[in-house]
Assembly symmetry: C2
């Protein structure tokens, strides 16, 4: 549960934060109870579909609120887990992001999420679903820092890198990856002059951080001055936050998943999307 965003959103929207009682029964079933009377209220339920227990808790919470007969119920999911399983890559696989989108839409009148890995997930929803892109808060964070190049770890993220580069008036590049065999991926850094330069690697999700770690290790030997890394969602599987911050000069993520690297907030963008929808 994203407490940092909740507090910031409540402040922007002048909304109250309802207390939720949580416990486990002896058999490990989850118990929760919303402590405020929410009948007739506009209610936002914030939660991430990041791990099994988070998803169960989020569905129970949405149901608890819905049972109270609110005026409206908006599901805000800063980090939508399972969004990389937005299609079947092989027969017999589930479409995981569809499963959770549908389950949430059973209770929510609308869904707001941040930078889904793929926009296809939005199309599985029967209720309005906003997928917010985060550009300005990242620009604001880096505008006074001395960045020479922006690099995307793969061609799929090049648009994000280029949009940010345009605002910062610098050049954008991407790392060219070529699969050699099942275990080997060849990685070609952009062929530019790194000597005494400051680069910013930008990605949507840092999970294991494999590409960023390899790229940073190579860049270190190029005479580079500073490596900055920025991602929307800091999943940081397998302590990749420690591995990355041990190599690069600066690691920053947003607050969609709270960590000590969450130096950029998405609350303002979420509030704008919410208010636009309420107005519309």
């Amino acid at each position: 549960m994203a407490h940092g965003i909740s507090a910031k959103l409540a402040s922007i929207l002048s909304a109250d934060i309802s207390e939720v009682e949580r416990k486990r029964f002896p058999d490990n079933e989850m118990y929760l109870r919303v402590k405020e009377d929410l009948s007739g209220q506009d209610v936002i339920v914030i939660g991430n579909t990041k791990n099994d227990s988070d998803i169960i808790e989020y569905l129970l919470l949405l149901n608890a609120v819905r049972e109270e007969d609110p005026k409206s119920l908006t599901a805000i999911i800063p980090y939508f887990g399972y969004a990389r399983q937005h299609m079947k890559y092989h027969d017999g696989e589930p479409i995981s992001s569809k499963v959770f989108t549908r389950a949430i839409g059973e209770y929510a009148d609308r869904i707001i999420s941040v930078e889904l890995h793929n926009d296809q997930t939005v199309k599985y929803s029967k209720v309005p679903f906003n997928n917010i892109k985060i550009l300005n808060p990242i620009y604001e964070h880096f505008k006074n820092k001395d960045i020479d190049y922006i690099i995307s770890p793969d061609d799929g993220g090049y648009d994000r890198a280029r949009n940010l580069a345009d605002k910062l008036h610098v050049e954008a590049y991407y790392i060219n990856k070529k699969r050699i065999d099942a275990n080997t991926v060849q990685m070609n850094l952009p062929d530019i002059n790194y000597k005494n330069k400051n680069v910013l690697l930008v990605d949507d999700i840092i999970s294991t951080g494999g590409t960023i770690i390899r790229a940073s290790q190579e860049l270190k030997e190029s005479g580079i001055n500073q490596i900055n890394v920025c991602a929307i969602h800091g999943v940081f599987a397998g302590n990749s936050d420690k591995k990355i911050s041990g190599i690069v000069n600066n690691l920053v993520v947003t607050d969609t998943i709270e960590s000590k690297y969450s130096k950029i907030t998405t609350a303002g963008e979420i509030a704008s999307a919410l208010l636009n929808k309420i107005r519309a």
Copy 2:
């Protein structure tokens, strides 16, 4: 996942068991893949809604099968977890069994479960939902054992005890419980002659086993010959299986949740319900 029941059901129904590939991604998201081609097939998906990861896996599996376009999809849930949260006891609580019933009904054409704690859960389903009662397999297990009395741990389970007692031609009783304060429940054993007798304590679910343990400790001092304990669902929270089997002479549960105490199978009853429905 109830492998014991799956194998027995497949045997009764002459059905094949599809292999399912399962793994976790580095960020702990679940991956699964059904290995058989299920299009146009009558498919049964067996799983318990017992803990968070089981529920997530079960929903992903139901979706994976549904995406393959089967002829029919039956959800068999031998132990339906969260069925004790079948209503709001206080404002602000979720109706947990409704949440999972609805989520499963999103994919399944029909649902079969065994001895739900409360029949209310069935009413939340939009698809046909059979709640099977298990009596005959328990009777068969105990008919040649020398049982003198059957005792239910509370008045709510008295019907179950009496139905079994009628078949075994013995008397049924229940333990009278009276709440004294928040922390104290007074327990009154039936006022009958226990000397050299064999009793059978019958319940639907053994979770912490609190009442059964207390009752067994008291019965031990009554000159009783043998204490037998039988339940449909052996949840066994907090090692209660070890605590109970350390006190009583004989602990038996069904295979809705597999354990070494699963000496009674429900597969025959589930197959009957399934075939009746297919016929009907």
